[in-house]
Amino acid sequence: MTDVLAITEHRRGDLRDVSYEVITAGRQLADESGGDLHLAVISGNATGFADDLNREGVDYVHTVSEGEEFNHDVYTQAIEALHAELDPEVVLMPNSVNGLDYAPAVANRLDLPLATDAVGIEYGDSLTVTREMYGSKVETTVEVGGDQQAVTIRGAEWSAAEGVGDAEISEFEADIDTDTGSRVTGFEEVGGGDVDISDAEFLISIGRGIEEEENLPLIEDLVEATDATLSSSRPIVDNGWLPKNRQVGQSGKVVTPDVYLAIGISGAVQHVAGMKGSDTIIAINTDPNAPIFDIADYGIVGDLFEVVPELIEQFE
């Protein structure tokens, strides 16, 4: 029998989507190996979350009440204690920002081989994980050895578990030292500013492909000619060419315009997470293999510095 322990995630009082996705991934592994799926919810309103996490396929929900908001020391200690008690073959964790803040410590402390950012998992004779490399240009399968393993899964790769389950819900008493070396002191919303890109009907979004800040006015001319709203992928904001409130993506805004025109954006998974809900997606990119074309409805494989001036002309 091969049991799976999956760790859920919440923030500021709400469970995050990936909590239901780890259930689906965990159930799949447990089915393949004939084991039970244990779920853990740590800190915050842990007992309050348990009912919502009791979805189809979950065998046990363990609540750990210690701690208010996420703290990696509390999580690491709680998972260490759960692992000692349950002895699961696989620990599944979200490959979220917080997941990246405790999963590697859990793996190190428990001496488990770690495969992060899995987009696929399979349990046959051994555990095999599918991962991407080189900015999604290749996929690899990796066999994870050892008797027990730790895996973090990419968000939105598994569907969210639904239905009501009949899991056994219980409070897990762990001896946790809360006098830790890191203390969360608050949260801050970033952005603000004069424009809310999440309200826009037509977004013209730019990425690395515009190459230099000097090329920004060209795009601004197009934005003006078409009465669009300007947004961007992460590198443009990192470079300081546009303010943070213009960033579309996992760590920026989630947008759902009628039309999203992506110019010089390759379509990294973090960016796509923020714009895939757009009604119509149009991409201009020189690389025909750019992942943005996988989700685009229309595309131009070409040089933006030739296409954009022509496009401006169309609307002047």
Binding site: R11, F70, T76, S96, V97, D101, A103, P104, A105, A107, N108, R109, A115, T116, D117, R131, E132, M133, Y134, G135, K137, V138, E139, T140, V142, E143, V144, G145, Q149, T180, G181, S182, V184, T185, F187, E188, G191, E201, F202, T226, A228, N239, Q250, S251, G252, K253, V259, T280, A283, I284, D287, F293, D294, Y298, V307, V308, E310, L311, Q314, F315
Partner: protein, 263 residues
Amino acid sequence: MKVLVTVKEVAEVADDFEIEGTEVGERYLEYDLNEWDDYAVEEAVQLKEDGPADEVVSVTIGPERADETIRMALAKGADRAVRVWDDALEGVDLLDVETKTNLLAAVVEEEEPDLVLTGVQAGDDAFGATGVSLADEIGFQWGAVVNALDFDADEGVASVHRELEGGVEELTDIDVPAVLTIQTGINEPRYASLRGIRQAQSKEIAPKTLADIGLDADAVESDLTMTSMYEPESESDAEIFEGDASETAGKLAEVLREKGVAQ
């Protein structure tokens, strides 16, 4: 205060490439300093320029070729560098997190830094895990995905912002010694000046083998084995406009008008 900054030479793949076995063909690869590490180096050098740090040491795991990359860190202001490599690492096609942790932990033991900065992840294998794993191994505190750092040397506290998803940042105080994984955008990495590049030529890059840092071949035994590599199947059903720039722009304009977003 001594700051140790880990850097990695990463491979970037050309638009068109071929896979040979479980590797991308060498001729399709270009090597560069990992983007995230560039920001970590800048943050370390700024800590020195602003006062709290006395010395910035850069460490990398890589063959002799990686000297070129580590010289970029030296040219940007790191004082000296350590490069760990060993024959035992030659044949390993996927350095797992545990191996990197073992090697870097041994360097930390020798260097005894107060603060370790790493990039959040590497652009090639993208594990995003070495910094936090290292922190746990060496008993340091840590913070992952840091996009703002305010260091209080008197209190020995790093006040950081951690960039969470959805435009929210978490504010956290972290006691040093600590490992921080640095997110892009935290600063503006400088270009290496000509003077910096010249000076880097005379700075020390100490090559170390496993034996030099007190490890044996067991430390690099990996539980992860890459079994296949392939190009993901394109799922594209996009309508691609054909023609020259004028023609494609014309068709695009038509779509924008049809959708009613531009006139």
